[in-house]
Amino acid sequence: MKKLLLGDEAIALGAINAGLSGVYAYPGTPSTEVTEFIQGNPLAIERGIHSRWSTNEKTAMEAALGMSYMGKRAMVCMKHVGLNVCMDPFVNSAMTGVGGGVVVLVADDPSMHSSQDEQDSRYLGSFAMVPILEPRDQQQAYDMMAYAFELSEKRSLPVLMRVTTRMAHSRAVVEVAETAAPQNELNFNSQAKDWVLLPVNARRKNDILVGLQPSLEADGEAWNKLAIKDSKLGIITSGVGWNYVMEAFGGDCPHSVLHITHYPLPHAAIAQLCENCETVLVVEEGQPFIEEKIQGMLPQEQWKVIGKLNGAYLPRTGELSPDSVREAFRRIDAEVTGTEYKPVPEVAKPEVVVARPPALCQGCGHRSVYEALNLVLKDYENPRVFGDIGCYTLGFLPPFRALHSCVDMGASITMAKGAADAGQFPSIAVIGDSTFTHSGMTGLLDAINENANITVIISDNLTTAMTGGQDSAGTSKYEAICTGLGADPAHVRVVVPLPQSMEAITATIREEIAYEGVSIIIPRRECLQTLKRHKK
């Protein structure tokens, strides 16, 4: 059966058809659609596959481990920076091993279309010493899911599947199975000696993990494809890099190509490629993970390794494109023939075209929050507003220019506290409802315990808006959470962020800034996007 699917959807359907019992995730571009697809899939609903959003990536990863402990197949989905949040359970799940198969699906975002950095999850998978799979297109992503769960169970390790924005958010025609494999039965096979990571167990498990590495490399042999051609140039590709190489040659590449979809790196195949060439070009999406490792592997006097690092044949930052890869080949050709390399002339974008950055929706409640905040802060000499991650980060841009920082999920509250510790006043945090439950609550407890002189604004639009309006874990619980953590109920204030309420909002902000200690203001009004959807 043929279906037109986003890369993320192909992954989701592949997992359902592989007998998935639960997906655990926190929304994050470009990974969100994996979980959303499972939430809406009739078979997943019929089978009762768990798919409710988790509070953050760490709780997601740990819940998946619990399901795996009981013998069932679980998937965890996140964006690249989400892997940082669940790094503790992720790395240690390689130590415990798994029961039912665990696939950790991480979607990297080179070019930072919707992210604060370009980190490459392959480094973190390698760090944890787990197998990494990197499909190049939607069909392969679908096809690899059943294998990923089998591999996870065969090696008793979580498997990291790494994709990037371009594949995750592109649709293609995918051939899919009509039927799904049965789900695993609940079992009690998991052993405490494997799962209790006291040093006595952990040392033994660490030896097992290290000892497994050669087998993990051998597992990839069937997947890592080598095609030898009579050429002095050898190419190593991974992920969508392969697509751009083939695009450049209309599908018929005259050079030897080793396409890597399965890590650890295949040393034997790399050696075989090198026997047949003098120069190795590495075409990979993301950071130069393969290129760095290959450079360390090959004697430089014998082989020239080129790519993003050496010679800048490909751009060091940002995602690859068919154009940047084509230009790399044109430059190499020019060097071989000894002619001068000139890039293909481009039609310029007309000067009349100006940037159109994203903006908060007209009528959005966050707008009233920033308008009020700016009105109040005019009266202070050096106010600092520590921001956080969500639609409201756009408050940094004109016309508001209201934020002084945005680092990672939850950092608004903790940074405001640290700044207050340093003597800053007024020290204000702006955080969204979903980000607050994701990573803000623990920081708020720190602030309350020390009675830090900060004002926290939890801008509550009743949803996880930036990623498209998913349920927010703490909806209707914010006052209770804050007072439960020990905030003074008199300084947990709710306002309605509407232009006509400006006087009330500004008065509340003024009073709470003046209060010496932790005060919390919750401007609450539903996101316009979800409101529109709910009205339909």
Binding site: L6, H113, A172, V173, N243, S321, V344, V352, V353, P358
Partner: protein, 192 residues
């Protein structure tokens, strides 16, 4: 057979619906498709585009190489010009709405935008917003634009109609009819 299309607009205008209809029409003919989309932050009123590639043989890159697009379909006139580097300079067509979407203070003056279009040899420009309102189908401006693009796309008109019927079927007969009407208005206006 190969058809590379760039769909452009401002977040929320509905370019993905246009892409979905074209995709549905072509997939029904057994053709292969790749369609790269923008999700996430840019959807909040920023510039958005989608690369739609259709072919009867394997499509490798999800992205259209520069200078290779056959058609730019844009729901906003400045946004169409943003993707000129991708348009085939010899044969490419621009099918655009002339209704300007001004949500930034730096938006160019009307005559500057018009001057930029004077250099473009193959353009169909229609005020699809106005046409939609005048014809009592205010929510179907994007389908008027698709109708206007039909000839440049080289997709049989009846195939687009069928795709509209299939894709809008679950929304009821009235919405199917409004969108079919929009398609016809676009096709006829483009010929004027």
């Amino acid at each position: 057979m190969k058809l590379d299309i760039i769909l452009a607009g401002v977040g929320g205008q509905g370019i993905l619906t246009v892409a979905a209809i074209i995709g549905e029409a072509c997939m029904n003919e057994g053709l292969l498709i790749k369609q790269a989309e923008v999700h996430g932050m840019s959807q909040r009123g920023g510039d958005v585009q989608s690369n739609l590639r259709i072919s009867d043989s394997h499509i490798y890159s999800d992205l259209i190489p520069k200078g290779a697009a056959d058609v730019i379909i844009s729901l906003e006139p400045m946004e169409a010009l943003r993707y000129l580097p991708w348009l085939n300079p010899e044969t490419g067509w621009i099918i655009t709405s002339s209704a300007r979407f001004v949500n930034i203070p730096t938006y160019p003056a009307e005559d500057a935008l018009e001057a930029a279009y004077k250099n473009q040899p193959r353009v169909v420009s229609l005020d699809v917003e106005k046409l939609a309102k005048d014809n009592g189908i205010p929510r179907s401006a994007n389908m008027i634009l698709l109708g206007a693009a039909q000839e440049a796309l080289g997709i049989e008109y009846s195939k687009l109609e069928d795709a509209v019927r299939r894709l809008f079927a679950r929304k009821g007969e009235a919405i199917v009819e409004a969108n079919l009407k929009a398609l016809a208005i676009g096709r006829d206006e483009a010929k004027k």
